[in-house]
């Protein structure tokens, strides 16, 4: 019974995170709290680049035949990229480890729901780190 309860909680959280509006709002609020305007612009930049990367690499979802499967491409995972981006924003803070664990949890839920493969999740960390360099190249020109 206890296992069933924990499963229920895990799936509820996973579905909660899967809600794009809720998830992006949450990430943006935390990013703003960490780095104010810079944090917010980095997250918006990450959303745009991840969307573009998905179009370029055009990897179909593994869940393509399922009813609740997201309609966009899979590579890299947008949810995981945003979570890792959030952690990276706090690289010099004490709570960095907590945000990194949050990113791992988000990544796990994406695999749990069957929306992503493990490799798509691994690429998300790379995507988030690459975004730092790309974002800075644009941000410093302002």
């Amino acid at each position: 019974m206890a296992i069933a309860n924990s499963d229920w909680l895990l799936y509820s959280l996973a579905n909660f995170i899967d809600n794009n509006i809720f998830y992006i709002t949450l990430i943006m609020i935390i990013a703003y709290l960490i780095r104010k305007k810079e944090g917010l612009s980095f997250i918006i930049f990450s959303i745009i680049t991840t969307f573009l990367a998905k179009q370029v690499f055009a990897m179909p979802r593994i869940c393509i035949d399922a009813l609740d499967c997201p309609k966009d491409f899979a590579f890299p995972s947008g949810h995981a990229t945003l979570a890792f981006s959030l952690a990276i924003l706090a690289i010099d803070k004490k709570y960095f480890i907590a945000l990194l664990l949050f990113a791992l949890f988000v990544s796990y839920t994406r695999i749990l729901l069957g929306f992503h493969t493990d490799l798509e999740i691994l690429a998300s960390l790379a995507m988030a780190l690459i975004n730092v360099e790309l974002w800075w190249a644009i941000w410093k020109k302002k």
């Binding site: 690499f57 990897m59 590579f75 790309l134």
Partner: protein, 190 residues
């Protein structure tokens, strides 16, 4: 000044050797396991950065470029491993494209910088580019690429290394991987 030059040489040696280690891993274990290993390494490296900060007294951070640390601590190393992780995680990538990108990044870029330093050049120099091309071409031949493919991709890699608009650790591997796929598509097989 001398310490700065020494650090640059050590940095480039690590740059080249890291690439060779990843090359060995990908040949022995395959791309998927290599991606896992790079991911775990990056994860631990981020934790290390978080714990040490940009403190120059601490081990590896002493070797990082100060001007890059203002953007992100150990930015060069992070970009290097991130681009390789990204490419290794992409299931559709042909293995030869990954190998050509990996060698261009580690051998080509590494030797180009070392060559430039040997001739006391501050920025990217023509002699450095040439000195990067030779070991890159040879390394392509050693892993069994055809001579035509090797020469075309090596020339392209060295041209890209000179004109990188963002960090070459990102720009170079992505450009070379894409270019090698295009070259092979047009009939010059690796």
């Amino acid at each position: 000044m001398e310490e700065k030059i020494n650090n640059e040489i050590i940095r480039q040696i690590i740059h080249i050797y890291s690439g060779l280690i990843i090359l060995a891993l990908s040949l022995i274990l395959g791309l998927k396991l290599t991606a896992y290993i790079i991911f775990i390494f990056l994860f631990i490296f981020l934790l290390y950065i978080n714990l040490t900060g940009s403190n120059k007294e601490n081990g590896f951070m002493r070797l990082t470029r100060e001007e890059e640390n203002k953007i992100f601590p150990a930015k060069g190393a992070i970009c290097y491993f991130s681009s390789l992780l990204f490419l290794a995680s992409y299931e559709k990538i042909p293995f030869y494209a990954f190998l050509s990108a990996l060698l261009a990044l580690s051998v080509g870029d590494g030797f180009a910088t070392l060559g430039g330093k040997a001739f006391k050049s501050k920025g990217k120099s023509l002699i450095g580019t040439f000195l990067g091309f030779i070991p890159l071409f040879l390394s392509y031949m050693i892993i069994g690429f055809s001579p035509y493919f090797s020469i075309i991709v090596a020339v392209f890699a060295m041209l890209i290394e000179r004109v990188s608009v963002v960090d070459d650790n990102i720009f170079l591997p992505f450009s070379v991987a894409s270019f090698s796929v295009i070259v092979s598509y047009y009939g010059i097989s690796p």
